[in-house]
């Protein structure tokens, strides 16, 4: 990760960790392909598990990174310092997301049908088309920035974020259209997903940029410090908005006339999911970063790095909560194959290893990019 491309001991340890993660992940992929999804914890009651949740996380990260970089196209001061890294992060998180969705489906051999014969009545049908469009726009955007063609890059700097918002709100609608599962929030879901994407994307961009300086023992320029701090403030605002969403989602959920919806919220707020929900999703994901950013003493690059790191962990946990929350109450109170009173789901080792693969792959691609593609380059405003 160093600019002079040395292989110091820190770099070697880093690579060993990543390759171990990659190896574990490849084992998970091979196991899944050989034995099928029976090696996962999913079933008819909970068809979507931790891989699906992580997939949402990665797509959110990608969409968020690129949405934040809209600041560059709009000519906001300082964004020229982080844009290139942001667009690159958006591409690699999208690749990791793509890997997760291929693993998520039970019969990937038929995936080509999504392109040749999609059902335009299904949000999932639209999603794939938007994905492809988004990925193409991202790659062109990055290429133009890399070639320093900032005039054209500006156009793509607007188109790519717009397609990112389209992609992620469509992903939200995939959950929203499952109208029998009120926990997903119906029409609320697509908007909720955009806010989530902004939080995750901003946090990831901040964390990675800070980590880059820490890892390479480089000192930040005063300009860079001020960008980090102002983006940190923006993260604080985004988390604040998300907190408002979360409060109202829970309050309206608890007073829903449908008893099974109320049960799903009770599961999360006071049932078996409570510790996970309060400590990880709310505590680490929302409260801790908010306190770190509001407090003037911790609103420093180091404090913001901690805040964004905690937020990333919390948001990943929250994606899991969200995905499981909609499925935890059986559709019918008593079908003979349904578990009571809550549908049981525990991620298996194979599933977790695939999530580890997605993270290792992202980190590995980033490491490669930071050594080969000069991500710290300034993308001048035009």
């Amino acid at each position: 990760m160093t600019e002079n491309k040395t292989f110091n001991s820190r770099f070697i340890v880093w690579m060993v960790i990543l390759l171990a993660g990659l190896g574990l992940g490849i084992w998970g992929v091979v196991t899944t392909f050989l034995s099928g999804l029976q090696t996962w914890g999913i079933g008819d009651e909970v068809p979507w598990g931790i891989v699906t949740a992580s997939y949402v996380f990665f797509v959110a990260a990608s969409a968020g990174c690129i949405t934040v970089s809209l600041g560059h196209a709009l000519g906001i001061k300082g964004f020229d310092l982080i844009i290139k890294r942001g667009v690159f992060l958006a591409i690699i998180t999208m690749i990791a997301g793509g890997l997760l969705i291929v693993m998520h489906v039970g019969n990937p051999v038929n995936l080509w049908r999504l392109i040749t014969a999609p059902n335009f009545g299904s949000p999932l049908g639209w999603l794939v088309i938007f994905y492809l469009l988004y990925l193409i726009l991202l790659i062109i955007d990055f290429y133009l920035i890399h070639k320093k063609d900032f005039v054209k890059a500006r156009i793509f700097g607007i188109l790519a974020p717009l397609s990112a918002i389209t992609v992620h709100s469509t992903l939200g609608s995939v959950f929203g259209f499952a109208s029998v599962r009120h926990y997903y929030g119906g029409a609320f879901a697509p908007v909720y997903f955009i806010v989530i994407a902004v939080v995750i994307g901003t946090a990831l961009l901040l964390f990675v940029t800070n980590l880059h300086y820490k890892f390479n023992s480089k000192s930040m320029s005063s300009e860079m410090r001020s960008v980090i701090v102002s983006l940190g403030k923006f993260l604080g605002i985004a988390i604040g908005v998300l907190a408002i969403f979360v409060i109202w989602k829970n309050l309206t959920g608890l007073s829903n006339p449908d008893p099974s919806t109320v049960k799903a919220y009770q599961y999360m707020l006071a049932g078996p999911g409570a510790w996970w929900y309060w400590i990880l999703a709310i505590g680490l994901g929302l409260l801790a970063p908010l306190i770190l950013i509001i407090n003037r003493n911790t609103r420093t690059p180091n404090g913001i790095m901690l805040a964004s790191g905690l937020s990333i962990i919390g948001m990943l946990a929250a994606r899991f909560d969200f995905t499981i929350g909609g499925q935890v109450i059986p559709i019918f109170e008593d079908l003979q194959h349904i578990q009571q009173p809550w549908a049981d789901y525990a991620a298996t080792f194979t599933e977790v290893s695939i999530v580890v693969l997605a993270f290792s792959l992202t980190a590995l691609l980033y490491t490669w990019g930071s050594r080969k593609l000069a991500l710290e380059e300034v993308a001048e405003h035009v």
Binding site: S35, G36, L37, Q38, W40, I42, G43, D44, E45, P47, W48, H104, V105, G106, N107, P108, N110, L111, R113, L114, A117, P118, N119, G121, S122, L124, G125, L127, V128, V174, F177, A178, S179, V180, R181, G326, Q327, P330, I331, F332, E333, D334, L335, Q336, H337, I338
Partner: protein
């Protein structure tokens, strides 16, 4: 001369080939149109009425469905909701048999990104295993919990080497080998006739009740209807005012599961499971 001949031949060949080509393009279209027009289910609106008053809760619909459709051990295309309600001594047992509702506005059909889940002739909600990617969005969208995902190979029990009772019974694998090893024991090939590959389900895709379309298209009743010992399941065409289902629904209010969702299920329930009566009194204060 030879050039002319060869050109003539070429032209003739060309016309021949062209003719064959056009025929090849048109004939299958005509045939498919013909077969569409002559599909025995076209224009019908098939539905099932379940008379809960006649139902005794024996569960034979669930069992015979497995025989007919090669449904795996822990999968139930035909299932049931049962519960004991009330407060002692005033208690009651309820039993409602369930199956795919073949909704008019099926959420699974809307959800499926590849049109694997689709509405077929007669209003049957069908699933095409060749198009399914196994995303499980239909399961998330179905309000009735009647779609099953095959996470592993179907009928894995029949590949088990362990005998049920050591030294007394054969293992499941031995039984499978006794019927030539290619298919599972008690396998019903009729399911294959509609579409090859549907008899034994593939790994990684979903499956569900088909209203026994392979039987219905030949003028036979769904097997659960055929086998119900109390004639509690009645099948027919809602578009035909003289069909038995239309007549019953003229007499009794047809209840549908989760009617408020607007999915318009084609499985309707009449009367109640309870066979009890109550004395002719007006009660007291």
């Amino acid at each position: 001369m030879s050039k002319i001949v060869s050109r003539n031949v070429n032209r003739r060949d060309f016309l021949k080939l062209g003719g064959i080509g056009i025929a090849a393009a048109i004939v299958p279209t005509l045939i498919s149109q013909q077969s569409k027009a002559s599909s025995p289910l076209a224009g019908k609106n098939l539905a099932m009425v379940i008379d809960l008053h006649r139902c005794v809760g024996c569960g034979s619909c669930s069992i015979v469905c497995k025989n007919e459709n090669n449904v795996d051990g822990d999968v139930f295309w035909s299932s049931r909701i049962s519960k004991t309600t009330g407060r002692f001594p005033n208690v009651r047992f309820e039993y409602i048999t369930t199956l795919c509702n073949h909704c008019e506005k099926a959420p699974c059909v809307r959800a499926c990104p590849t049109k694997a889940m689709h509405k077929g002739d007669g209003g049957i909600t069908k699933h095409d295993p060749d198009k399914c990617i196994g995303c499980r969005y239909c399961i998330a969208a179905c309000p009735y919990g009647v779609i099953h995902f095959n996470a592993g190979k179907s009928h894995e029990f029949w590949r088990d080497d362990k005998p049920l009772i050591e030294g007394a019974t054969p293992s499941a694998r031995e039984v499978t080998q006794a019927v030539n090893g290619k298919v599972i024991p008690y396998y019903n090939p009729a399911r294959e006739l509609d579409k090859p590959g549907t008899g034994l389900r593939k790994r990684g895709i979903v499956e569900k009740c088909t209203f026994c379309d392979h039987r219905v298209s030949k003028g036979q009743l769904p097997y659960c209807v055929e086998a119900c010992p109390t004639n509690a399941r009645i099948f027919g065409d809602l578009n035909d005012p003289n069909s038995e289902v239309s007549r019953i629904l003229g007499k009794f209010h047809g209840m549908r599961l989760k009617e408020e969702l607007g999915t318009e299920p084609k499985v309707l329930y009449v009367r109640t499971y309870s066979t009890g009566t109550h004395p002719k009194t007006k009660g007291s204060v």
